[in-house]
Symmetry: C2
Subunit: 286 residues, 2 copies
Amino acid sequence: MTKYFTEEQSVSTVNARMGVDISPRLREVMSCLVKHLHEFAKEIELTQEEWDFGIDFVTQTGQLCSEERQEFILLSDVLGFSMLIDAINNRRPAGATENTVLGPFHVASAPIREMSANISLDGKGESCLYEGRVLDLYGAPIEGACVDVWSDNIDGFYDVQQPGLQPKWNNRGRFITGSEGFYRFVGIKPVSYPIPDDGPVGKLLDSLGRHPYRPAHMHFLVTAPGHKKIVTHIFVGEDHYINDDAVFGVKQTLVAPFEYVEGETEWRCPFDFVMVAETSAGKDSD
Amino acid sequence: MTKYFTEEQSVSTVNARMGVDISPRLREVMSCLVKHLHEFAKEIELTQEEWDFGIDFVTQTGQLCSEERQEFILLSDVLGFSMLIDAINNRRPAGATENTVLGPFHVASAPIREMSANISLDGKGESCLYEGRVLDLYGAPIEGACVDVWSDNIDGFYDVQQPGLQPKWNNRGRFITGSEGFYRFVGIKPVSYPIPDDGPVGKLLDSLGRHPYRPAHMHFLVTAPGHKKIVTHIFVGEDHYINDDAVFGVKQTLVAPFEYVEGETEWRCPFDFVMVAETSAGKDSD
Protein backbone atom coordinates (compact mmCIF):
# COMPACT_ATOMS: atom_id res chain seq x y z
CA MET A 1 0.00 0.00 0.00
CA THR A 2 1.33 3.38 -1.00
CA LYS A 3 1.37 5.94 1.78
CA TYR A 4 -0.22 8.48 -0.55
CA PHE A 5 -3.77 8.93 -1.78
CA THR A 6 -5.09 6.54 -4.42
CA GLU A 7 -8.60 6.12 -5.74
CA GLU A 8 -8.65 2.48 -4.64
CA GLN A 9 -7.52 3.07 -1.07
CA SER A 10 -9.07 6.47 -0.53
CA VAL A 11 -11.14 5.45 2.50
CA SER A 12 -8.36 3.76 4.45
CA THR A 13 -5.92 6.58 3.63
CA VAL A 14 -8.26 9.26 4.97
CA ASN A 15 -9.36 7.30 8.04
CA ALA A 16 -5.81 6.26 8.96
CA ARG A 17 -5.01 9.95 9.39
CA MET A 18 -7.02 10.29 12.61
CA GLY A 19 -5.01 10.64 15.81
CA VAL A 20 -4.79 8.00 18.51
CA ASP A 21 -6.19 10.01 21.42
CA ILE A 22 -9.53 11.06 19.97
CA SER A 23 -13.05 10.18 21.06
CA PRO A 24 -13.73 6.54 20.07
CA ARG A 25 -17.28 7.46 19.06
CA LEU A 26 -16.08 10.33 16.88
CA ARG A 27 -13.64 7.93 15.20
CA GLU A 28 -16.45 5.47 14.56
CA VAL A 29 -18.87 8.08 13.18
CA MET A 30 -16.31 9.83 10.97
CA SER A 31 -14.83 6.57 9.62
CA CYS A 32 -18.29 5.43 8.64
CA LEU A 33 -19.17 8.81 7.11
CA VAL A 34 -15.98 8.91 5.04
CA LYS A 35 -16.55 5.33 3.88
CA HIS A 36 -20.10 6.04 2.69
CA LEU A 37 -19.24 9.42 1.14
CA HIS A 38 -16.43 7.86 -0.87
CA GLU A 39 -18.48 4.80 -1.80
CA PHE A 40 -21.23 7.11 -3.02
CA ALA A 41 -18.84 9.02 -5.29
CA LYS A 42 -17.26 5.81 -6.60
CA GLU A 43 -20.52 4.00 -7.19
CA ILE A 44 -21.96 6.70 -9.43
CA GLU A 45 -18.62 8.14 -10.61
CA LEU A 46 -19.58 11.64 -9.56
CA THR A 47 -18.32 14.17 -12.11
CA GLN A 48 -16.42 17.35 -11.31
CA GLU A 49 -19.45 19.39 -12.48
CA GLU A 50 -21.76 17.43 -10.18
CA TRP A 51 -19.38 18.03 -7.28
CA ASP A 52 -19.40 21.78 -8.13
CA PHE A 53 -23.19 21.67 -8.14
CA GLY A 54 -23.24 19.87 -4.80
CA ILE A 55 -20.85 22.38 -3.19
CA ASP A 56 -23.01 25.20 -4.46
CA PHE A 57 -26.18 23.48 -3.22
CA VAL A 58 -24.99 22.94 0.36
CA THR A 59 -23.51 26.45 0.44
CA GLN A 60 -26.86 27.99 -0.56
CA THR A 61 -28.62 25.74 1.95
CA GLY A 62 -26.36 26.97 4.76
CA GLN A 63 -26.68 30.58 3.75
CA LEU A 64 -30.48 30.47 3.87
CA CYS A 65 -30.42 29.32 7.50
CA SER A 66 -31.40 31.93 10.07
CA GLU A 67 -33.15 32.22 13.41
CA GLU A 68 -36.44 31.79 11.54
CA ARG A 69 -35.49 29.09 9.07
CA GLN A 70 -33.44 25.89 9.11
CA GLU A 71 -32.98 24.76 5.52
CA PHE A 72 -30.59 21.94 6.45
CA ILE A 73 -33.21 20.34 8.71
CA LEU A 74 -35.63 20.69 5.82
CA LEU A 75 -33.11 18.92 3.58
CA SER A 76 -32.71 16.15 6.15
CA ASP A 77 -36.52 15.90 6.33
CA VAL A 78 -37.17 15.53 2.60
CA LEU A 79 -34.45 12.88 2.26
CA GLY A 80 -36.14 10.80 4.96
CA PHE A 81 -33.03 11.26 7.11
CA SER A 82 -34.81 12.98 10.00
CA MET A 83 -37.41 10.21 10.17
CA LEU A 84 -34.66 7.59 10.05
CA ILE A 85 -32.80 9.18 12.98
CA ASP A 86 -36.09 9.37 14.88
CA ALA A 87 -36.80 5.70 14.14
CA ILE A 88 -33.33 4.51 15.15
CA ASN A 89 -33.53 6.40 18.44
CA ASN A 90 -37.09 5.54 19.37
CA ARG A 91 -37.57 1.83 18.81
CA ARG A 92 -40.50 0.74 20.93
CA PRO A 93 -42.28 -2.47 21.77
CA ALA A 94 -45.45 -3.36 19.85
CA GLY A 95 -48.46 -1.55 21.23
CA ALA A 96 -46.56 1.58 22.23
CA THR A 97 -47.40 4.79 20.36
CA GLU A 98 -44.89 5.45 17.59
CA ASN A 99 -42.87 8.63 17.20
CA THR A 100 -42.65 10.89 14.22
CA VAL A 101 -40.73 14.12 13.55
CA LEU A 102 -41.08 17.06 15.95
CA GLY A 103 -41.15 19.62 13.15
CA PRO A 104 -40.05 23.25 13.42
CA PHE A 105 -43.23 24.73 14.92
CA HIS A 106 -43.26 23.41 18.47
CA VAL A 107 -43.17 26.17 21.10
CA ALA A 108 -42.21 25.26 24.66
CA SER A 109 -44.43 26.33 27.57
CA ALA A 110 -47.75 26.71 25.77
CA PRO A 111 -50.58 27.59 28.18
CA ILE A 112 -51.90 24.79 30.35
CA ARG A 113 -55.65 24.62 29.63
CA GLU A 114 -58.62 23.17 31.44
CA MET A 115 -59.69 19.79 30.11
CA SER A 116 -62.21 20.17 27.21
CA ALA A 117 -61.00 23.69 26.38
CA ASN A 118 -61.11 24.97 22.82
CA ILE A 119 -57.63 25.85 21.52
CA SER A 120 -58.87 27.32 18.23
CA LEU A 121 -58.77 31.01 19.12
CA ASP A 122 -59.49 32.42 15.67
CA GLY A 123 -62.80 30.58 15.37
CA LYS A 124 -61.93 29.40 11.86
CA GLY A 125 -62.01 25.87 10.54
CA GLU A 126 -64.07 22.78 11.22
CA SER A 127 -64.15 22.00 14.95
CA CYS A 128 -62.94 18.63 16.14
CA LEU A 129 -63.07 16.96 19.54
CA TYR A 130 -59.84 15.17 20.39
CA GLU A 131 -60.07 12.72 23.25
CA GLY A 132 -58.54 9.58 24.61
CA ARG A 133 -56.34 8.26 27.37
CA VAL A 134 -52.66 8.14 28.18
CA LEU A 135 -51.84 4.57 29.17
CA ASP A 136 -48.84 2.44 29.94
CA LEU A 137 -47.97 -0.72 28.03
CA TYR A 138 -50.19 -2.78 30.34
CA GLY A 139 -53.25 -0.61 29.83
CA ALA A 140 -53.02 1.23 33.15
CA PRO A 141 -53.87 4.96 32.97
CA ILE A 142 -51.07 7.49 33.54
CA GLU A 143 -52.04 10.36 35.81
CA GLY A 144 -50.26 13.69 35.50
CA ALA A 145 -49.16 13.16 31.91
CA CYS A 146 -48.71 16.38 29.93
CA VAL A 147 -50.36 16.33 26.51
CA ASP A 148 -48.86 19.23 24.53
CA VAL A 149 -50.69 19.81 21.22
CA TRP A 150 -50.35 22.14 18.25
CA SER A 151 -51.65 22.39 14.69
CA ASP A 152 -51.90 24.79 11.78
CA ASN A 153 -55.03 26.88 11.27
CA ILE A 154 -57.48 26.56 8.43
CA ASP A 155 -55.15 28.50 6.12
CA GLY A 156 -52.31 26.02 6.68
CA PHE A 157 -50.18 28.24 8.93
CA TYR A 158 -49.06 27.87 12.53
CA ASP A 159 -49.55 30.87 14.81
CA VAL A 160 -45.78 31.51 14.93
CA GLN A 161 -45.74 31.85 11.15
CA GLN A 162 -48.33 34.65 11.29
CA PRO A 163 -47.59 36.60 14.48
CA GLY A 164 -49.75 39.58 13.62
CA LEU A 165 -52.50 37.67 11.84
CA GLN A 166 -53.31 34.90 14.31
CA PRO A 167 -54.05 35.18 18.06
CA LYS A 168 -51.06 34.19 20.19
CA TRP A 169 -51.25 30.46 21.13
CA ASN A 170 -53.87 29.83 18.44
CA ASN A 171 -54.31 26.05 18.08
CA ARG A 172 -51.88 25.27 20.92
CA GLY A 173 -52.20 24.12 24.50
CA ARG A 174 -51.14 21.71 27.19
CA PHE A 175 -53.47 19.37 29.05
CA ILE A 176 -52.66 17.42 32.21
CA THR A 177 -54.32 14.03 32.62
CA GLY A 178 -56.23 13.10 35.79
CA SER A 179 -56.37 9.80 37.61
CA GLU A 180 -58.02 7.95 34.74
CA GLY A 181 -55.49 9.22 32.22
CA PHE A 182 -58.05 11.07 30.10
CA TYR A 183 -57.31 14.06 27.89
CA ARG A 184 -59.93 15.97 25.94
CA PHE A 185 -59.83 19.21 23.97
CA VAL A 186 -61.43 20.96 21.04
CA GLY A 187 -59.32 22.04 18.11
CA ILE A 188 -59.86 22.10 14.38
CA LYS A 189 -59.58 19.34 11.84
CA PRO A 190 -56.20 20.40 10.48
CA VAL A 191 -55.37 20.93 6.80
CA SER A 192 -52.43 19.94 4.61
CA TYR A 193 -49.77 22.56 3.85
CA PRO A 194 -46.50 22.88 1.93
CA ILE A 195 -43.12 23.00 3.66
CA PRO A 196 -41.13 26.14 2.71
CA ASP A 197 -40.31 25.53 -0.96
CA ASP A 198 -38.78 28.81 -2.13
CA GLY A 199 -35.18 27.76 -1.33
CA PRO A 200 -32.69 25.09 -2.48
CA VAL A 201 -34.75 22.27 -0.93
CA GLY A 202 -37.86 23.39 -2.81
CA LYS A 203 -35.84 23.44 -6.04
CA LEU A 204 -34.54 19.96 -5.27
CA LEU A 205 -38.05 18.61 -4.69
CA ASP A 206 -39.15 20.14 -7.96
CA SER A 207 -36.22 18.53 -9.83
CA LEU A 208 -37.14 15.19 -8.27
CA GLY A 209 -40.75 15.47 -9.42
CA ARG A 210 -41.94 15.71 -5.81
CA HIS A 211 -44.46 18.09 -4.22
CA PRO A 212 -43.76 19.92 -0.92
CA TYR A 213 -47.01 19.06 0.90
CA ARG A 214 -47.54 17.45 4.28
CA PRO A 215 -50.84 15.67 4.94
CA ALA A 216 -53.02 17.28 7.64
CA HIS A 217 -51.98 16.39 11.18
CA MET A 218 -52.31 17.37 14.83
CA HIS A 219 -49.00 17.41 16.73
CA PHE A 220 -48.67 15.74 20.13
CA LEU A 221 -45.80 15.81 22.60
CA VAL A 222 -46.73 13.55 25.50
CA THR A 223 -44.56 13.45 28.62
CA ALA A 224 -45.01 11.78 32.00
CA PRO A 225 -42.65 11.13 34.90
CA GLY A 226 -40.95 7.74 34.58
CA HIS A 227 -41.90 7.33 30.92
CA LYS A 228 -40.21 7.98 27.60
CA LYS A 229 -41.64 11.02 25.88
CA ILE A 230 -43.73 10.57 22.75
CA VAL A 231 -43.22 13.04 19.91
CA THR A 232 -45.80 12.32 17.29
CA HIS A 233 -48.66 13.45 15.03
CA ILE A 234 -52.14 12.14 14.44
CA PHE A 235 -52.83 12.22 10.71
CA VAL A 236 -56.13 12.78 8.96
CA GLY A 237 -56.48 9.51 7.08
CA GLU A 238 -58.56 10.88 4.22
CA ASP A 239 -56.01 13.60 3.39
CA HIS A 240 -55.00 13.95 -0.26
CA TYR A 241 -51.30 13.68 0.69
CA ILE A 242 -51.58 10.86 3.25
CA ASN A 243 -49.55 8.48 1.06
CA ASP A 244 -46.82 10.92 0.07
CA ASP A 245 -45.93 13.20 2.98
CA ALA A 246 -43.01 15.35 1.76
CA VAL A 247 -41.06 14.51 4.93
CA PHE A 248 -42.14 10.83 5.26
CA GLY A 249 -43.68 11.41 8.70
CA VAL A 250 -46.71 9.15 8.30
CA LYS A 251 -46.83 5.77 10.03
CA GLN A 252 -49.69 3.33 9.73
CA THR A 253 -50.47 3.46 13.45
CA LEU A 254 -50.67 7.27 13.41
CA VAL A 255 -53.40 7.50 10.79
CA ALA A 256 -56.43 8.21 12.93
CA PRO A 257 -60.14 8.01 12.49
CA PHE A 258 -61.72 11.44 12.12
CA GLU A 259 -65.42 10.76 12.61
CA TYR A 260 -68.02 13.21 11.38
CA VAL A 261 -70.38 13.84 14.28
CA GLU A 262 -73.38 16.09 14.71
CA GLY A 263 -72.78 17.43 18.17
CA GLU A 264 -70.97 20.33 19.73
CA THR A 265 -68.15 19.76 17.25
CA GLU A 266 -68.27 18.69 13.62
CA TRP A 267 -65.60 16.02 13.99
CA ARG A 268 -64.32 13.67 16.62
CA CYS A 269 -60.88 12.06 16.77
CA PRO A 270 -60.45 9.40 19.45
CA PHE A 271 -56.84 8.36 20.09
CA ASP A 272 -55.08 6.68 23.02
CA PHE A 273 -51.39 7.19 23.70
CA VAL A 274 -49.38 4.26 25.05
CA MET A 275 -46.16 5.16 26.82
CA VAL A 276 -43.10 3.05 27.54
CA ALA A 277 -41.46 3.12 30.98
CA GLU A 278 -38.05 4.81 31.20
CA THR A 279 -36.61 1.58 32.49
CA SER A 280 -37.77 -0.35 29.42
CA ALA A 281 -35.09 -1.65 27.02
CA GLY A 282 -34.63 0.12 23.72
CA LYS A 283 -32.60 3.02 22.51
CA ASP A 284 -34.02 6.45 23.24
CA SER A 285 -32.45 9.84 23.00
CA ASP A 286 -33.78 11.08 26.33
CA MET B 1 -44.32 -3.68 2.22
CA THR B 2 -46.14 -0.90 4.04
CA LYS B 3 -46.65 2.23 2.00
CA TYR B 4 -45.39 4.32 4.92
CA PHE B 5 -41.91 4.96 6.29
CA THR B 6 -40.19 2.20 8.24
CA GLU B 7 -36.61 1.98 9.47
CA GLU B 8 -36.05 -1.22 7.47
CA GLN B 9 -37.35 0.11 4.15
CA SER B 10 -36.34 3.74 4.54
CA VAL B 11 -34.19 3.84 1.38
CA SER B 12 -36.74 2.31 -0.98
CA THR B 13 -39.54 4.43 0.49
CA VAL B 14 -37.66 7.68 -0.08
CA ASN B 15 -36.35 6.76 -3.51
CA ALA B 16 -39.72 5.47 -4.74
CA ARG B 17 -41.07 8.98 -4.22
CA MET B 18 -39.21 10.43 -7.20
CA GLY B 19 -41.29 11.30 -10.24
CA VAL B 20 -41.18 9.44 -13.54
CA ASP B 21 -40.17 12.29 -15.79
CA ILE B 22 -36.99 13.44 -14.06
CA SER B 23 -33.40 13.40 -15.28
CA PRO B 24 -32.15 9.77 -15.25
CA ARG B 25 -28.77 10.92 -13.98
CA LEU B 26 -30.33 12.92 -11.14
CA ARG B 27 -32.34 9.84 -10.20
CA GLU B 28 -29.18 7.74 -10.16
CA VAL B 29 -27.16 10.24 -8.11
CA MET B 30 -29.91 10.96 -5.56
CA SER B 31 -30.86 7.29 -5.13
CA CYS B 32 -27.24 6.45 -4.41
CA LEU B 33 -26.85 9.43 -2.05
CA VAL B 34 -29.98 8.51 -0.07
CA LYS B 35 -28.85 4.89 0.11
CA HIS B 36 -25.43 5.79 1.53
CA LEU B 37 -26.75 8.49 3.88
CA HIS B 38 -29.25 6.07 5.37
CA GLU B 39 -26.75 3.21 5.52
CA PHE B 40 -24.35 5.52 7.35
CA ALA B 41 -26.95 6.40 10.00
CA LYS B 42 -28.02 2.77 10.40
CA GLU B 43 -24.52 1.37 10.56
CA ILE B 44 -23.45 3.58 13.45
CA GLU B 45 -26.94 4.17 14.89
CA LEU B 46 -26.54 7.92 14.80
CA THR B 47 -28.11 9.49 17.89
CA GLN B 48 -30.47 12.45 17.90
CA GLU B 49 -27.77 14.55 19.61
CA GLU B 50 -25.22 13.61 16.93
CA TRP B 51 -27.73 14.56 14.23
CA ASP B 52 -28.26 17.93 16.02
CA PHE B 53 -24.49 18.40 16.08
CA GLY B 54 -24.24 17.55 12.39
CA ILE B 55 -27.01 19.99 11.42
CA ASP B 56 -25.27 22.69 13.42
CA PHE B 57 -21.90 21.84 11.84
CA VAL B 58 -23.07 22.05 8.21
CA THR B 59 -25.05 25.21 9.02
CA GLN B 60 -21.96 26.92 10.44
CA THR B 61 -19.93 25.69 7.47
CA GLY B 62 -22.40 27.23 5.03
CA GLN B 63 -22.60 30.47 6.93
CA LEU B 64 -18.83 30.97 6.86
CA CYS B 65 -18.78 30.78 3.06
CA SER B 66 -18.27 34.09 1.27
CA GLU B 67 -16.63 35.51 -1.83
CA GLU B 68 -13.29 35.08 -0.06
CA ARG B 69 -13.77 31.72 1.59
CA GLN B 70 -15.32 28.37 0.68
CA GLU B 71 -15.55 26.31 3.86
CA PHE B 72 -17.51 23.49 2.18
CA ILE B 73 -14.72 22.94 -0.36
CA LEU B 74 -12.32 22.88 2.58
CA LEU B 75 -14.52 20.24 4.24
CA SER B 76 -14.54 18.20 1.04
CA ASP B 77 -10.75 18.57 0.89
CA VAL B 78 -9.98 17.36 4.41
CA LEU B 79 -12.27 14.34 3.99
CA GLY B 80 -10.32 13.30 0.88
CA PHE B 81 -13.51 13.81 -1.12
CA SER B 82 -12.06 16.46 -3.45
CA MET B 83 -9.09 14.25 -4.27
CA LEU B 84 -11.41 11.32 -4.89
CA ILE B 85 -13.54 13.30 -7.35
CA ASP B 86 -10.36 14.47 -9.06
CA ALA B 87 -9.10 10.89 -9.26
CA ILE B 88 -12.36 9.48 -10.64
CA ASN B 89 -12.51 12.17 -13.31
CA ASN B 90 -8.88 12.13 -14.36
CA ARG B 91 -7.83 8.51 -14.76
CA ARG B 92 -4.80 8.45 -17.02
CA PRO B 93 -2.57 5.86 -18.63
CA ALA B 94 0.72 4.98 -16.92
CA GLY B 95 3.41 7.53 -17.75
CA ALA B 96 1.03 10.50 -17.93
CA THR B 97 1.42 13.19 -15.27
CA GLU B 98 -1.11 12.73 -12.49
CA ASN B 99 -3.58 15.37 -11.34
CA THR B 100 -4.09 16.74 -7.88
CA VAL B 101 -6.47 19.35 -6.45
CA LEU B 102 -6.61 22.83 -7.99
CA GLY B 103 -6.87 24.57 -4.62
CA PRO B 104 -8.51 27.94 -3.98
CA PHE B 105 -5.63 30.21 -4.99
CA HIS B 106 -5.47 29.89 -8.75
CA VAL B 107 -6.03 33.18 -10.57
CA ALA B 108 -6.90 33.08 -14.27
CA SER B 109 -4.94 35.18 -16.77
CA ALA B 110 -1.67 35.58 -14.86
CA PRO B 111 0.94 37.49 -16.90
CA ILE B 112 2.63 35.55 -19.69
CA ARG B 113 6.37 35.79 -18.95
CA GLU B 114 9.51 35.32 -21.01
CA MET B 115 11.10 31.93 -20.60
CA SER B 116 13.58 31.91 -17.63
CA ALA B 117 11.87 34.89 -15.94
CA ASN B 118 11.83 35.19 -12.17
CA ILE B 119 8.29 35.16 -10.77
CA SER B 120 9.35 35.92 -7.19
CA LEU B 121 8.68 39.65 -7.11
CA ASP B 122 9.23 40.23 -3.40
CA GLY B 123 12.79 38.91 -3.48
CA LYS B 124 12.17 36.77 -0.42
CA GLY B 125 12.82 33.05 -0.05
CA GLU B 126 15.31 30.58 -1.48
CA SER B 127 15.44 30.80 -5.25
CA CYS B 128 14.75 27.72 -7.32
CA LEU B 129 15.06 26.99 -11.03
CA TYR B 130 12.12 25.01 -12.38
CA GLU B 131 12.69 23.43 -15.76
CA GLY B 132 11.61 20.57 -17.91
CA ARG B 133 9.60 19.67 -20.97
CA VAL B 134 5.97 19.22 -21.85
CA LEU B 135 5.69 15.94 -23.75
CA ASP B 136 3.03 13.66 -25.12
CA LEU B 137 2.69 10.01 -24.09
CA TYR B 138 5.13 8.98 -26.82
CA GLY B 139 7.85 11.39 -25.72
CA ALA B 140 7.27 13.96 -28.45
CA PRO B 141 7.56 17.60 -27.29
CA ILE B 142 4.41 19.73 -27.25
CA GLU B 143 4.88 23.19 -28.67
CA GLY B 144 2.62 26.02 -27.54
CA ALA B 145 1.68 24.43 -24.23
CA CYS B 146 0.78 26.93 -21.51
CA VAL B 147 2.46 26.26 -18.17
CA ASP B 148 0.58 28.30 -15.56
CA VAL B 149 2.37 28.28 -12.18
CA TRP B 150 1.72 29.68 -8.70
CA SER B 151 3.04 29.21 -5.18
CA ASP B 152 2.97 30.78 -1.75
CA ASN B 153 5.75 33.12 -0.66
CA ILE B 154 8.30 32.46 2.07
CA ASP B 155 5.72 33.37 4.76
CA GLY B 156 3.29 30.71 3.50
CA PHE B 157 0.80 33.08 1.85
CA TYR B 158 -0.31 33.48 -1.76
CA ASP B 159 -0.33 37.02 -3.17
CA VAL B 160 -4.15 37.07 -3.21
CA GLN B 161 -4.18 36.42 0.54
CA GLN B 162 -2.06 39.52 1.18
CA PRO B 163 -3.15 42.08 -1.40
CA GLY B 164 -1.43 45.05 0.25
CA LEU B 165 1.59 43.19 1.52
CA GLN B 166 2.77 41.30 -1.56
CA PRO B 167 3.38 42.64 -5.09
CA LYS B 168 0.54 41.78 -7.47
CA TRP B 169 1.28 38.50 -9.32
CA ASN B 170 4.02 37.60 -6.85
CA ASN B 171 5.03 33.98 -7.46
CA ARG B 172 2.71 33.58 -10.45
CA GLY B 173 3.14 33.46 -14.18
CA ARG B 174 2.39 31.69 -17.43
CA PHE B 175 5.03 30.29 -19.80
CA ILE B 176 4.47 29.12 -23.36
CA THR B 177 6.62 26.24 -24.60
CA GLY B 178 8.60 26.46 -27.85
CA SER B 179 9.20 23.81 -30.47
CA GLU B 180 11.19 21.54 -28.15
CA GLY B 181 8.51 21.74 -25.43
CA PHE B 182 10.81 23.33 -22.85
CA TYR B 183 9.65 25.51 -19.96
CA ARG B 184 11.98 27.23 -17.53
CA PHE B 185 11.44 29.80 -14.81
CA VAL B 186 12.82 30.96 -11.48
CA GLY B 187 10.60 30.92 -8.41
CA ILE B 188 11.22 30.09 -4.80
CA LYS B 189 11.41 26.76 -3.06
CA PRO B 190 7.90 26.91 -1.54
CA VAL B 191 7.09 26.34 2.13
CA SER B 192 4.38 24.39 3.94
CA TYR B 193 1.39 26.30 5.28
CA PRO B 194 -1.86 25.61 7.15
CA ILE B 195 -5.25 25.66 5.43
CA PRO B 196 -7.67 28.10 7.11
CA ASP B 197 -8.30 26.47 10.48
CA ASP B 198 -10.30 29.07 12.42
CA GLY B 199 -13.69 27.73 11.28
CA PRO B 200 -15.73 24.52 11.66
CA VAL B 201 -13.30 22.54 9.48
CA GLY B 202 -10.37 23.58 11.67
CA LYS B 203 -12.30 22.49 14.77
CA LEU B 204 -13.09 19.17 13.10
CA LEU B 205 -9.43 18.57 12.25
CA ASP B 206 -8.51 19.35 15.84
CA SER B 207 -11.13 16.90 17.18
CA LEU B 208 -9.76 14.25 14.81
CA GLY B 209 -6.21 14.75 16.07
CA ARG B 210 -5.14 16.09 12.68
CA HIS B 211 -3.03 19.15 11.81
CA PRO B 212 -4.07 21.63 9.09
CA TYR B 213 -0.75 21.76 7.17
CA ARG B 214 -0.06 21.19 3.52
CA PRO B 215 3.45 20.17 2.48
CA ALA B 216 5.32 22.71 0.35
CA HIS B 217 4.35 22.61 -3.33
CA MET B 218 4.46 24.54 -6.60
CA HIS B 219 1.14 24.57 -8.49
CA PHE B 220 1.00 23.80 -12.22
CA LEU B 221 -1.88 24.07 -14.64
CA VAL B 222 -0.66 22.79 -18.00
CA THR B 223 -2.85 23.17 -21.07
CA ALA B 224 -2.22 22.51 -24.75
CA PRO B 225 -4.52 22.28 -27.77
CA GLY B 226 -5.67 18.71 -28.40
CA HIS B 227 -4.59 17.52 -24.94
CA LYS B 228 -6.32 17.03 -21.60
CA LYS B 229 -5.34 19.68 -19.13
CA ILE B 230 -3.14 18.78 -16.18
CA VAL B 231 -3.96 20.33 -12.81
CA THR B 232 -1.24 19.37 -10.42
CA HIS B 233 1.43 20.29 -7.89
CA ILE B 234 5.09 19.43 -7.58
CA PHE B 235 5.82 18.65 -3.94
CA VAL B 236 9.04 19.22 -2.02
CA GLY B 237 9.93 15.66 -1.04
CA GLU B 238 11.82 16.57 2.11
CA ASP B 239 8.91 18.56 3.58
CA HIS B 240 7.94 17.79 7.15
CA TYR B 241 4.30 17.23 6.09
CA ILE B 242 4.94 15.24 2.89
CA ASN B 243 3.34 12.10 4.37
CA ASP B 244 0.30 13.76 5.87
CA ASP B 245 -0.99 16.55 3.64
CA ALA B 246 -4.16 17.85 5.31
CA VAL B 247 -6.02 17.57 1.97
CA PHE B 248 -4.42 14.29 0.74
CA GLY B 249 -3.04 15.99 -2.39
CA VAL B 250 0.30 14.16 -2.53
CA LYS B 251 0.87 11.39 -5.06
CA GLN B 252 4.10 9.43 -5.34
CA THR B 253 4.78 10.63 -8.89
CA LEU B 254 4.40 14.28 -7.89
CA VAL B 255 7.10 14.25 -5.22
CA ALA B 256 9.96 15.94 -7.03
CA PRO B 257 13.67 16.21 -6.56
CA PHE B 258 14.70 19.62 -5.30
CA GLU B 259 18.47 19.66 -5.87
CA TYR B 260 20.66 22.10 -3.99
CA VAL B 261 22.86 23.80 -6.59
CA GLU B 262 25.44 26.54 -6.35
CA GLY B 263 24.58 28.60 -9.38
CA GLU B 264 22.35 31.51 -10.17
CA THR B 265 19.69 29.87 -7.98
CA GLU B 266 20.04 27.94 -4.76
CA TRP B 267 17.84 25.08 -5.86
CA ARG B 268 16.86 23.29 -9.04
CA CYS B 269 13.72 21.28 -9.66
CA PRO B 270 13.63 19.35 -12.94
CA PHE B 271 10.22 17.98 -13.92
CA ASP B 272 8.67 16.86 -17.20
CA PHE B 273 4.93 16.96 -17.80
CA VAL B 274 3.37 14.20 -19.90
CA MET B 275 0.01 15.04 -21.45
CA VAL B 276 -2.69 12.74 -22.77
CA ALA B 277 -4.40 13.46 -26.10
CA GLU B 278 -8.04 14.62 -25.92
CA THR B 279 -9.01 11.62 -28.05
CA SER B 280 -7.53 9.18 -25.53
CA ALA B 281 -9.93 6.94 -23.60
CA GLY B 282 -10.57 7.67 -19.94
CA LYS B 283 -13.00 9.84 -18.07
CA ASP B 284 -12.12 13.49 -17.84
CA SER B 285 -14.16 16.45 -16.82
CA ASP B 286 -13.01 18.67 -19.67
